[in-house]
Each structure stands twice: as structure tokens, then as C-alpha cells.
Amino acid sequence: MAKVTFNEDLCKGCELCSTACPVSIIKMDKTKINAKGYHPAAVEDMAKCLGCANCAMICPDVVITVER
């Protein structure tokens, strides 16, 4: 049981988190545009999250909080 939360308005949509995710559940949410004008990162299926914090480790803008 793990959960990641994105501070969406700070996300620059660089996609580094999606490459670091071992279970490939992070995608840029094409249905949303944040205050900066980017498609922010979002998790499709939170039940698959391992809570490894790789995404948070590589995020250059410290957008992500991880709970486990």
C-alpha cells in the first residue's frame, strides 16, 4: 500500500518521473493544463505503486510526496 501525491502546479511536465518508475504508472495527464502551462504528471493506477520513491528522487522540482 503506497501513495504518491503531486504538487501539480509546480510540475513542468519533463517526464523524468515516468522514466524512473519501475512499474510505469506515471503519465503526463493530457486532459489537464496546470498554471505553468504544462500537462502535469499523474498516476493512473495507484494500487500498483510500490512506494519506492524513485519518481521523487529524480523530480527536479520536488513536486512529489511519497507515502508507504
Binding site: M1, A2, K3, L10, K12, G13, C14, E15, L16, T19, A20, Y38, G51, A53, N54, A56, M57, I58, C59, P60, D61, V62, I64, T65, V66, E67, R68
Partner: protein
Amino acid sequence: MAIVFEKTKGLSNVETHYCPGCTHGIIHRLVAEVLEEMDVLPKAIGVSPVGCSVLAFKYFNIDFQEATHGRAPAVATGIKRVHPDKVVFTYQGDGDLASIGTAEIVHAAHRSENITTIFVNNAIYGMTGGQMAPTTLPGQKSTTSPLGRDPKHAGMPLKISEMFATIPGTAYVERVSVHDPVSIRNAKKAIRKAFEYQVAGKGFAMVEVLSTCPTNWGLSPVDSLTWLKDNMIPYYPLGNYKTLEEVK
């Protein structure tokens, strides 16, 4: 559920001006996390350079001094000598440290000033628009080497860590990268060690961090990580170049 990762208190809440995917943000965070974990945030003083990280003082939750181009080690020398109990570091890019500021950094290391230097090497001048730096790789295109760097004309890229390992005054020199989560964790360990050397009074410690510049490399942030791994690491091998003695 318990929080296993959240933003460090060492960073302020100011949004960075860095381009999407720029790894400066990761390196800022690692430095801030190390300072927080060592419990030295109240007595840490950073010196920011000229270059993309010129505004670093806004992003850290600690005291900071802005230096003129390349002169961060000279400013840090003064701060550390006046306040020997503070934890003083410079944060410099390759245009700042390996070009205009080479004299200052070499002599700060030569005098074995008890400071820590975080040297961010992305093989290009970022802020000024992607010109060739001393660290630009052979064949790498930049706005001042549109056909790629020609070593016959511009020489080979400067290997700073190798060079600093030969300076008697350096206590700790290591090159790390931030292209994947494993290397980021290793980079944090090296940065921590560099600060521990300073706290233990061992002398000059430097960590060279290989970094990306998606905008000026003309690549996506994700492709930049691959480019770093495939092109920079073979020329700039990762690893420890000097360890004076183990710090407990």
C-alpha cells in the same frame, strides 16, 4: 501510511526558473537534504555563481552570498576564514568554475581552504545560450561550435576531477552523476562526504556532478539523461579521485 519522501526544509518554497527536466533542481535538493540531515542548516552559508544557478540563493532555505563570475571560491574563502564554525560551500557550473573561475578554484584547492565545492558539469554554457564550454565534448554541437567541437582548434575537454586529484591541497574529490535514481543516491552520499570532510576540518572537498541541459543540447529531458549516460560518462568516468583519509 507514513511519509517516506517529502520536500526538505533546506529548500525554500520559491519555484525554480530552471527549464523542464534540468537536473540543477535535483542537485539543489541533494545539497539541501544533506545539510538538513547533518543538522547544519542554521550554520550553512552557500555561495552562488554566475550561470544558470545564479539565483540558487532564492531556492535554498539558508544564508547565501552571490559572487561575481567565477569568484565564488574567493568569496567562500573569506566567509570561512571569518566564520570558521560555519559550513561554507560554493555551487558552481562548468562555465563558472572550469573557465573564467579556474584561477580561483585551483588556488582555493591549492591552499586547501576548508570549504566544499559542488561543481555542476553539463558540458555547455547554459544561461548565455549554449556556447561551447571547456567541458564540451569533441564533436558536440553548440552555438559557437555549430559543426561540433574540433579538438584541433579548441583542445580536448578539461577533466576537472582528475586535475584536482593531483593538487596536494585537496582532501576529497569525487565525480558523480544524476541520470537515474541509483546514481542520484550515490551522488547524495558523495555530497554528504564532502560536507563531512569540511566539518572534520580536513580541507578542500569537491564533488563534480554530471548534469543535463536539455534546452541547449536540443534534446528532450528524457533523451538528455540517455545522452549524458552514453556520451559524458565514457569521457568523464564516475568515481572517487581522491580521499585523503576516512572521516569518521
